[in-house]
């Protein structure tokens, strides 16, 4: 990853909630844990030395259980929460140094946000909600009106312009939320558990809408979720938080194949590995063609299994997107890949 690709850089970010946060900061830097800090200083450790590089035009997922600090982290990016210490660079500009006026400008133009509980304006129509980000920039009505309508239609809500949010279903409300965030044409989209409140079918549909839009718009998206399936489906990269600390930040395949610790192993133990692990993660590197069929390197194990079940003894050849042969997979690799990996640490349960 070259340096230019990185749009957002988070350096040594700490957030401590409570009085005496500066005193507490020193203790945390000396290695004091969350529980001890709460007991000694009556401070809650929100974020503990977070370092994160977010690439341009990618979907960065931030995962963790509730209370792990993921919503706190995302709110630092547009300074809805002020950090205790640390640095946040967006486009190499330190956003913590922005004045109140510049911050307002920054929020209007560079970042928009989608919320877990939708947070639509109940007294405004769908059209006014979607146009809100534009209206507060004092863009004339006839102009934002048109742009808002475009995005309403883009998320499939044609004809609902004059409805109030209370008249729409949850899924439709979040489409409004998404359209509202997209309407400002901000480069960065913050999505805070945006689909968590929706039922599974609608959630899946919304994920598809998002991926569909992303293939066209190439936004930089920071997506918070506690759902690993969702993370694997949409994430280009997944960061996992625990008690305010970053546990692992890597591409999704690596999270599944090489979980950094027991916490991550615990996270991934219930997923259907055959459906998410791709050929490239388990293949043996090789330049020569094998006796079996040839498949793409991003094919998931389930599909390879289907192919190999016809001729179990013949290894399949793996090729990359350009058609170059990169490796081979034998039946034993498949079985090995589907097995749950042992984490680096000792295995504790409970």
């Amino acid at each position: 990853m070259s340096k230019n690709d990185i749009l957002i850089k988070v350096n040594q970010l700490y957030k401590i909630f409570g009085d005496n946060s500066n005193e507490a900061l020193d203790l945390v830097k000396d290695g004091m844990g969350k529980d001890e800090l709460l007991e000694k200083c009556n401070c809650v450790l929100g974020l503990n030395n977070i370092n994160l590089d977010i690439s341009k035009a990618k979907i960065q997922v931030v995962m963790g259980l509730s209370g792990s600090g993921k919503s706190t982290l995302i709110r630092h990016l547009n300074r809805l929460i002020e950090p205790t210490s640390g640095e946040i660079l967006v486009n190499e500009q330190d956003i913590l140094s922005l004045s109140q006026k510049e911050l307002v400008q920054f929020r209007q133009n560079n970042m928009s946000m989608v919320f877990q509980k939708f947070a639509l304006f109940p007294h405004k129509t769908v059209l006014q909600n979607v146009g809100y980000g534009l209206a507060i920039q004092n863009i004339p009505v006839d102009e934002w009106d048109e742009r808002a309508k475009k995005w309403i239609s883009r998320v499939g809500l044609d004809g609902y312009e004059t409805y109030y949010p209370g008249q729409l279903s949850g899924g439709m409300q979040q489409r409004v939320g998404l359209a509202r965030a997209l309407a400002t044409d901000a480069e960065i989209l913050l999505m805070d558990e945006a689909f968590s409140a929706l039922d599974p079918l609608i959630r899946s549909e919304m994920q598809n809408i998002l991926l569909d839009l992303q293939s066209e718009l190439h936004k930089t998206i920071i997506f918070i979720t506690h759902d690993l399936d969702e993370a694997l489906k949409i994430g280009d990269r997944i960061a996992i938080l625990r008690d305010g600390s970053m546990v692992q930040d890597s591409d999704p395949q690596k999270i599944i194949m090489k979980p950094a610790d027991d916490y991550v192993s615990d996270f991934i133990k219930d997923i259907n590995r055959a459906r998410v692990i791709q050929a490239k993660s388990i293949m043996t590197p090789s330049k020569s063609k094998s006796s079996g069929a040839t498949v793409k390197e991003d094919m998931v194990l389930e599909d390879i299994l289907q192919i190999m079940s016809d001729a179990p003894s013949k290894p399949v050849t793996i090729e990359d997107t350009k058609g170059n042969i990169t490796g081979k997979i034998e039946m034993v690799n498949l079985i090995e890949g589907m097995k749950r990996p042992e984490s680096q640490g000792t295995n504790i349960t409970g």
Partner: protein, 295 residues
């Protein structure tokens, strides 16, 4: 052991001295500034007089028509409009038209005054906890202090007349609008405010675009309460020279005229009910978007 059975109070002469000092100080104050303060309120007096004259001099059918139209705009309810019509017909038939118009004038002016002072106060309270901590005890005092007590300094300063009456009514009626404006703004969903923040709304855009519209039903409940309390003050205000329905009631008390007291008292009740129903229905309609569930 005397102090144990009798409270060790200050000596009678000291107490008399103390009261005298306070009284003289205030008398001096009202002598030197009373005229200035009175002229400060002159525009208010002119407005009130003009308003009252307007109500009394306009031919009654026009007034009734205007009131019915307003009742319809506010409530959109035929029963309320019919009730309003019958009430005003009865009031007029029993010879209380002029007094009712005077009362109406002072109630409307008082409400207008309370809204224009109370809402900004409520907004300031919602913005800062310190201001809230400062104003809440003042409101508590205003609501609990017997109204006769503040009539004394008001009368000493401004004499007897319309303006002191109006001020007394306002002191009594302003707390609900202040409290409910503050409450309404503070109750606005934090998520929605965060959303406004995340799109880069400034304080005023949040206040007028999000907080006030969402707090409006609560604020309106405050307006409703303010009107009710202003009406409740009508009789007491008549003691210091405010004309209207309160005056006959006062006369009825001192002379034991049962019918006169009942008639005018009921006229006040009728006005209160009309105001209440119309403003409540209007408040409900304002938050209609909340009740529009999906089918």
């Amino acid at each position: 052991m005397d102090w144990f059975f009798n409270f060790p109070d200050m000596s009678r002469s000291d107490l008399r001295e103390f009261k005298k000092t306070v009284d003289f100080a205030f008398t001096d104050f009202s002598r030197s500034y009373g005229a200035d303060i009175e002229s400060f309120f002159d525009p208010l007096l002119m407005f009130l007089v003009w308003f009252e004259k307007f109500f009394i001099n306009t031919p009654w059918p026009l007034i009734v028509l205007g009131i019915l139209i307003l009742a319809w705009i506010g409530s959109r309810s035929i029963p309320v409009v019919i009730g309003t019509f019958l009430s005003f017909m009865l009031i007029g038939y029993f010879g209380m038209w002029e007094d009712t118009m005077s009362t109406l004038a002072i109630i409307l002016v008082a409400t207008f005054l309370c809204i224009s002072i109370g809402i900004p106060m409520g907004i300031a309270m919602a913005r800062s906890n310190k201001i809230q901590a400062l104003i809440v005890p003042i409101l508590d005092v205003m609501q609990t202090i017997p109204s006769f007590v503040y009539l004394i300094p008001v009368v000493m300063l401004l004499g007897i007349g319309k303006v002191p009456g109006l001020i007394a009514v306002c002191i009594y009626a302003i707390p609900p609008i202040v409290r409910l404006t503050n409450l309404g703004i503070r109750l606005v969903d934090k998520d929605v405010l965060e959303a406004a923040d995340s799109f880069g709304a400034n304080y005023w855009q949040k206040l007028f675009g999000v907080q006030m519209p969402l707090a409006l039903p609560t604020i309106f409940a405050g307006v409703n309460q303010t009107i009710m309390m202003a009406l409740a003050m009508v009789v007491i205000a008549s003691m210091i020279g405010v004309k209207g329905l309160g005056l006959p009631v006062l006369r009825a008390i001192s002379n034991q005229y049962l019918a006169l007291g009942l008639m005018n008292g009921l006229a006040i009740v009728v006005l209160a009910i009309i105001f209440d129903r119309v403003t409540q229905k209007f408040g409900l309609r304002m938050q209609k978007y909340r009740n529009d569930g999906k089918d």
